[in-house]
């Protein structure tokens, strides 16, 4: 059922998956296996796009036997999650991840350890995403590469029935009419130089909000990762052996453990910071190129020996990527509050599993694998129960249908404004109520301007929409950070250093013209554990 009009490729499917990264590919496979016809659209290329493809996630990986192993892991994570995560969601994420990864045999060439046992936990990014693309193709799923979605279609009854977007290589637009939609567009780091993140501009958040969905946990967006200056190489492993120096060559003291972000940010606010990796044992140096082949690329090309020479470093912001916030989940099938709209991976809040600290290193990828499959199955079921895909109208607003007179918007200026509030260590790592209020005002003004006047056309259509999405996302982050009038987990307020039991709840946020926040009193998210 393909019809090509002059400008728009129109397709029908039971389920549309928007985003073909880690969560989107798992979602597509699950929806297809549940019997649905599936189309997957990615802004870039499914297989190299997204932050998994350029890294290599270690999953939350704990054997089912003896049962105490998982029970202890969950109990520990409940403590470090500061009361915002849920044992039931953790248990089902651990279980589904454990079942799922071995099923990629035949698509991913699992390494074996010295005893010959296949290693499932940590998979190399490019190979992992290549395997997932092959899996998706083998199931007969249609992939639309270089096809960013711009807006959702919504029926008069409020249910979502597809999306529209651009075919940026083939030309023209696309429209998929679908019985249900899974948003798997990743998180956003506001175009910081975080490795592999540049197609992740928060489009899914904006599209969902326009349909009436709300978000949760957007205050947990302060995470930053070290990298050599002017590089994207935010691979962290080797920094476990780092020594940091200030401009005068004095060693910057670091607390024991992995939490170097805040001391590094403090030092960077005072001046340049340098690093060497001289503490790395010789045998590990030899293995780095075959553990993380991209890690050494910048050093080799700049002619720097990081094991003996000092190099300057910076911190790249991660926003909601290795932060935690995203679309609020209201059912165990990863449904959002909008009928027919499901969310997975970094597009969804990861508070349910990670709590108030980063889920990087284990939980985020396990969540992408699991939430992807729950959302895919949920979408397949919704589509089967609610019948055919039709009758939806496009609902995009900001940058597509301006509220007032169309006027040129300086996109680079708008991006600088967003980044100024969201990527400055001073404002975003060391938060303070008064600074957050200023950020909120500034971003409200920027939003009002974009919403009223921006309308992308031609080559700027995508960039204009992405700018609107990042701007909306930034406003939700700041509003949530203000509403959480305390410090908890990665959200640290200089003016409210204590953790306050009154805030022992998730914070919901939403709204476009006017942003609102609300404490999540409904305990509907909790599963029986």
């Amino acid at each position: 059922m393909t019809r090509t009009t002059e400008e728009t490729l129109e397709l029908n499917a039971d389920v549309l998956i928007i985003g073909g990264g880690l969560a989107g590919t798992w979602a597509a496979a699950a929806a297809r296996r549940a019997g649905a016809t599936v189309i997957l659209a990615d802004k870039g290329y499914c297989g190299t796009s997204g932050v998994t493809a350029t890294a290599g996630p270690g999953h939350w990986w704990i054997p089912p036997d003896p049962p105490e192993l998982r029970e202890n892991a969950i109990a520990n994570r409940r403590k470090t999650g500061f009361g915002l995560n849920d044992a039931g969601w953790m248990a089902r994420t651990l279980a589904l991840t454990w079942e799922s990864l071995p099923t990629l045999a035949g698509f991913y060439d699992f390494s074996k350890d010295e005893s010959g046992a296949p290693q499932y936990r940590a998979l190399r990014g490019p190979e992992y995403m290549r395997a997932l693309r092959r899996l998706v193709e083998s199931l007969g799923i249609t992939i639309l590469d270089h096809s960013p979605a711009l807006e959702l279609l919504q029926r008069p009854d409020g249910s979502v029935s597809g999306a529209r977007g651009i075919r940026r290589q083939k030309g023209g637009d696309w429209q998929v009419n679908a019985g249900a939609v899974v948003l798997a567009t990743g998180g956003t780091s506001f175009l910081s130089r975080l490795l592999g993140s540049h197609t992740n501009t928060g489009d899914g958040y904006l599209m969902a909000a326009e349909a009436g969905a709300e978000l949760s946990g957007m205050e947990f967006t302060t995470y930053h990762t070290v990298a050599p200056v002017r590089s994207t190489m935010t691979r962290t492993m080797s920094y476990a052996f780092a020594t940091y120096y200030d401009e005068d060559g004095a060693v910057i003291p670091m607390p024991p453990g992995p939490d170097t972000m805040r001391p590094l940010a403090r030092a960077l606010l005072e001046g340049k910071v340098f690093c060497d990796l001289s503490r790395t044992p010789e045998d590990i140096r030899a293995q780095v190129p075959t553990i993380s082949p991209n890690f050494m690329l910048p050093f080799r090309r700049w002619g720097i020996d990081p094991y003996s020479e000092r190099f300057e470093v910076t911190l790249h912001g991660e926003g909601t990527i290795r932060g935690i916030g995203g679309l609020r989940i209201v059912g165990d099938d990863c449904a959002t509050s909008v009928p027919g709209l499901f969310a997975a991976g970094d597009t969804a809040t990861r508070e349910l599993v990670a709590g108030a600290i980063s889920g990087g290193g284990n939980i985020n990828s396990a969540w992408a694998v699991s939430s992807g499959q729950w959302a895919g199955r949920g979408a397949a079921r919704f589509s089967a129960e609610n019948g055919s895909a039709s009758g939806g109208r496009p609902i995009g607003q900001a940058s597509l249908r301006p509220a007032s007179v169309e006027r040129d918007i300086d996109l680079s200026q708008a991006l600088l404004a967003i980044q100024g509030e969201m990527l400055s260590y001073d404002k975003n790592i060391f938060r303070h109520g008064s600074k957050l209020k200023r950020s909120a005002d500034l971003l409200d003004d920027a939003w009002a301007n974009v919403d009223a006047h921006a309308r992308g056309s031609g080559d700027t259509r995508l960039r204009t929409r992405e700018t609107a999405a990042m701007l909306a996302t930034a406003r939700w982050c700041i509003a949530s950070a203000l509403a959480r009038d305390e410090s908890r987990g990665m959200h640290q307020r200089e003016d409210r250093p204590e953790t306050d039991p009154r805030f022992n709840r998730r914070i919901l946020v939403g709204g476009l013209d006017k942003v609102w926040t609300q404490s999540d009193y409904g305990r509907a998210l909790e599963l029986a554990s």
Binding site: Y45, T48, T54, G56, A122, P126, I291
Partner: protein, 128 residues
Amino acid sequence: MIELVIAERCTGCNACVEICPTNVLAPSLNGPPEIAHQQDCQTCFMCELYCREDAIYVAPDCENPTDVDKDEIVASGLLGEFRRNHGWDEWAADPRFGNEHWRMESVFLRARDMAIAEAAAKRNSAQQ
């Protein structure tokens, strides 16, 4: 950012055009793909990995273009290093380039144990 598509090596397969996540390259009628939108490059090195001819060079600077000398780069031995370390294509059977990503966890544990040992040593010397 991507700096070079080396014409003498390129076979015009356009794999890089297809797989570039940010749509930086454009096919050209005759000759290698054109670096059409260098400013959009996210410096992820994926094009190098997918180029079987090792015809692409991405400079590590992700903020500004880098002046590079093509002959120097060709002579440097850097081309294709990434794809080789990944053990792709003709390197797949070479035991030197096996996928050791799974060792990452043990590296983190080594670092943790070293830090614990160093802290203990410091405490001991402080007590003496």
